[in-house]
Symmetry: D2
Subunit: 337 residues, 4 copies
Amino acid sequence: MIIILRKGSVKEDAQVILDKIENIGLKPLFLPGVERIVIGAIGDERLLETLGFDNFPQVEEVKPVLSPYKLVSRDFHAENTIVKIRDVSIGGHDIAVMAGPCAIEGEEQFLQAAKEVKKAGAKILRGGAFKPRTSPYSFQGLGILGLKIMNEVAKEVNMPTVTEVLEVADIDAVAKYADAFQVGARNMQNFRLLKELGQQKKPVLLKRGLSATLQDLLLAAEYIVAEGNQKVILCERGIRTFETATRNTLDLNAVPYLKMKSHLPVVVDPSHGTGIRSIVAPMAYAALACGADGLIIEVHPEPKNALSDGAQSQTPEQFQHMMERLKDFAQAAKRGF
Amino acid sequence: MIIILRKGSVKEDAQVILDKIENIGLKPLFLPGVERIVIGAIGDERLLETLGFDNFPQVEEVKPVLSPYKLVSRDFHAENTIVKIRDVSIGGHDIAVMAGPCAIEGEEQFLQAAKEVKKAGAKILRGGAFKPRTSPYSFQGLGILGLKIMNEVAKEVNMPTVTEVLEVADIDAVAKYADAFQVGARNMQNFRLLKELGQQKKPVLLKRGLSATLQDLLLAAEYIVAEGNQKVILCERGIRTFETATRNTLDLNAVPYLKMKSHLPVVVDPSHGTGIRSIVAPMAYAALACGADGLIIEVHPEPKNALSDGAQSQTPEQFQHMMERLKDFAQAAKRGF
Amino acid sequence: MIIILRKGSVKEDAQVILDKIENIGLKPLFLPGVERIVIGAIGDERLLETLGFDNFPQVEEVKPVLSPYKLVSRDFHAENTIVKIRDVSIGGHDIAVMAGPCAIEGEEQFLQAAKEVKKAGAKILRGGAFKPRTSPYSFQGLGILGLKIMNEVAKEVNMPTVTEVLEVADIDAVAKYADAFQVGARNMQNFRLLKELGQQKKPVLLKRGLSATLQDLLLAAEYIVAEGNQKVILCERGIRTFETATRNTLDLNAVPYLKMKSHLPVVVDPSHGTGIRSIVAPMAYAALACGADGLIIEVHPEPKNALSDGAQSQTPEQFQHMMERLKDFAQAAKRGF
Amino acid sequence: MIIILRKGSVKEDAQVILDKIENIGLKPLFLPGVERIVIGAIGDERLLETLGFDNFPQVEEVKPVLSPYKLVSRDFHAENTIVKIRDVSIGGHDIAVMAGPCAIEGEEQFLQAAKEVKKAGAKILRGGAFKPRTSPYSFQGLGILGLKIMNEVAKEVNMPTVTEVLEVADIDAVAKYADAFQVGARNMQNFRLLKELGQQKKPVLLKRGLSATLQDLLLAAEYIVAEGNQKVILCERGIRTFETATRNTLDLNAVPYLKMKSHLPVVVDPSHGTGIRSIVAPMAYAALACGADGLIIEVHPEPKNALSDGAQSQTPEQFQHMMERLKDFAQAAKRGF
């Protein structure tokens, strides 16, 4: 950790800080510059953080040297982590595609969607039972009934499932009926939820928040892993920027960056990342090209009747076509599909 | 609602939509333009939303005419709503200042802070018992113990209190020990929490999310009011932008804009909105000048020993000075203080 | 154009606007709704814009139906435009790669870079003679001398060239020594420069501004095309967002979106779009996968001695490797390379 | 400057850098940490920047200790700089209000506007002759004719003037007819223009770019001051964020931050900063409250007939009312008006 003192600070101002660093058992460094005094501290920065040097009046800026996350870091664990949702691996050689409708609207709709996505080659079934919606007047999901439908349909088509969990109180129900938890963008910093999921055995698909930096995302994953659940899949799903032509700005830079900094698998959601049906497919190809381990795609048997997110849902025909072309891109990326 | 069809759409494409509008009991309008067919629908747009026209393949864009929120709108309720936290009114003639430390760290610290802010003229006591923190390695608050300390200190200094509630499961405890609920920026779209708070009797201070538009904020408030709790106070606390010199970008435009669109009171949090101790005071003055009904300010007896957010906390001396100058700005704004 | 009047507006408020629309020769529509009066105008919206309806006190909002750009729109010109820089086509079947150092630092450096990029398969040589730099204390480019070096090296390696033009006064010099003009991100809305380039014969590579929406970019292109120069290549190079882990946020959504809305070719600059050497290649692959017509890549013979942007420059070895892999992605995208 | 090496770097990797620092005449520091080697360099960082350490493969990150600007810094010049536009001081005790229409549309309109703003108490007359417009189909200003009108009207009402300069080629004309140059947001990083203005004698009102950080703005000012013209006035006019309810997000944090870091005067443009007529006044009050040295306000005799930016222009009556209330806020801020 590097601590820069304000202009005009004197030796005594520095000494207070040097002493605190030494008292905590680390090695302090006194670096008097021409215009500013700089102090260094060698050792575990996470320990230093508790000293709150940025609160000191004589401190202008504190610059950490190490990343604030640890367990999710590639420094800490060099090999790729492979997370399994039932028998489907994510983060290994093969690309995994998760697909299904935004919301589970009923048994017929969900079964039809499930059959279509399975036929096209999707390996994991997705669908929302609990739907976080910006407006209180929008469809809010079928809740537990939706979970039960998901469970039955999944058995019928023999696919593992992933669905969103909104709250600690729902964890048990989701764990009972689905194979993996999804944490939505709006809940990425619902730390209580993250901690509870850290004590679960099933995998967690963690979506990046609309205004979360990649460091924030990795720290959210750290919350889960620190509690003992190492089965975390990171998901880039678009961030909020000034651009309004697309629903969100899909930040594909995140994919190679996260793969460089972390050992966790990374998947991409081009449906929410674009919000425009006709550009979901090219962005799915791009996601594979830059190193994504998987995709999560909204497919609805009849998008124009969808109760949620129809404008970004693929028709079964579009999805089938996309899957065929994805094979070529997976091959170019030297990945299995 | 205005619906613009894609280029090349024909009468039949329009007819499907016109029929749907008529079937739902509203008045459809067919407006064939030179380059595009436009369709209008006259009536309650919230009803139209359920038809999901943006999912139709022939639709290029759907443009709502009305705002998607209703109960919180000034169109619906022209007079200012005054929310009372115990005996302190917010949204009326007088400015209300809420102050206290970011986190309740112990009885001594909190009592000292409470006495200092009361002496300086603050009317409501704030302090966090449950702390949402970006890193799992940071101080997470004292929890229930913190609530109890808050409760006892509040009695001793005779001030109403506000504190953050993180989760549905904590609502009862917060309701028991505090006088108002605070919903933090990261929970602004925790819709389950909003709905439950809508069924409570105590007021809710609703902070704007880091990437929430003002429309998102008003829709979040609508969630609470729609459940029956009309005691909602909106809070601007800074948004996330590309600017990193300050912790957040305090969007004071929000104050007159929200006052124009909504009847709810609006307060400002310049501590989180700036993140820099020395510019909290000027931004507090600015908040009053542009029409804020109140302020929420972090004050710590010894900022350099604060366990959370010390860099943006005022010392008691700074706070006292700020309060004195705020009187002049309240007067210029023709408000009581 | 749809014009929404404020609540409380009456027939007379509407009549003023209806008359103005009629006077200009277009067809007005009066649509009295339940909560708001809406007015429609059928005809060329660009004409309507001159009436400034958003300035009228009774007007709440003006919603255009058509895009404000015309000549660059795919509505106006359905087929892809192919722009040729000397004999290299951009926007057709084949992918075009432009490569070279950020700045021309001297003859030796630039010749070496040119030979390396040509050997690896780049078709167009890039390099900056005039360098816009955030700090006045950074290297500002060799100016005219740089242009002359570019010209000579280009002859020696027989490659067409592209280089940035910063100002109207430099247009002639750039036109004399290079084969295409580059308009940098900071100049995307230097409208005087755009107009002058519209009167030139050589192609223009137009980079998206750091905070430019895609509509802003298309309007900037419209400035050039409206003056007569149809040889415009759009370039996505990253936008400024809250994310600081990467230098910019490369908005690849822009690629399929621009291809959908416009007939102009679209290229991607993953060097500026990421700012991190090791993630340039994966983002180049992604750009091809989502439909880019070309790439512009910074390659420096010795990045660690680069006078500008070394941290994002590829070594010749890295570039050669990237080019080999790009072939596979071009093939997956069914494009020639 | 602090240089952090990548994990796995060894003593030799550090030595190369230590030697370079020593060779340039500065003092290198070798700080081997537990997880990373850190190198420090004591001395003028602007010198170190030329060494391009961030280009070295062994370097993970370079963290500057000092700000990259110098001449505009308060460290360098502790007292407030007062800039005079003719006889009106900006940056001293008194608040200066600049007002007038967005565009000069003709002699009659401009004279009427000038008389109105003078009557209400504005000290400086503003108006645009050269208008940068997003669309090529919008009104582009009267050019030289506009400058001449400005000049004559200014004589008649005896007010100093400020107007935008778009290009180096126009500097002489603007210098001839106006009393101060305005650099618009889109030109804030038109470095050639900044350098030329640095050689002029008249003051420069430098507007912050739509996506410019405060550091970028200070570096743009440094360009001007480094060439010899110290008469620079900084102007906050709103930045581009995800919020679309207002035209821009007026970042008033910028005011106390810039006053803390720099000795230059700071003014605020609430007209562009909001884009909504009815919230310009409250934001003007807020600007004074947080420490602005002046305001620049759009006033049009008949906003609904304005050729540019009518929706954000004040009527003369609104402006007069605003000026009366501004007096109270100036007094609260202990400033003259």
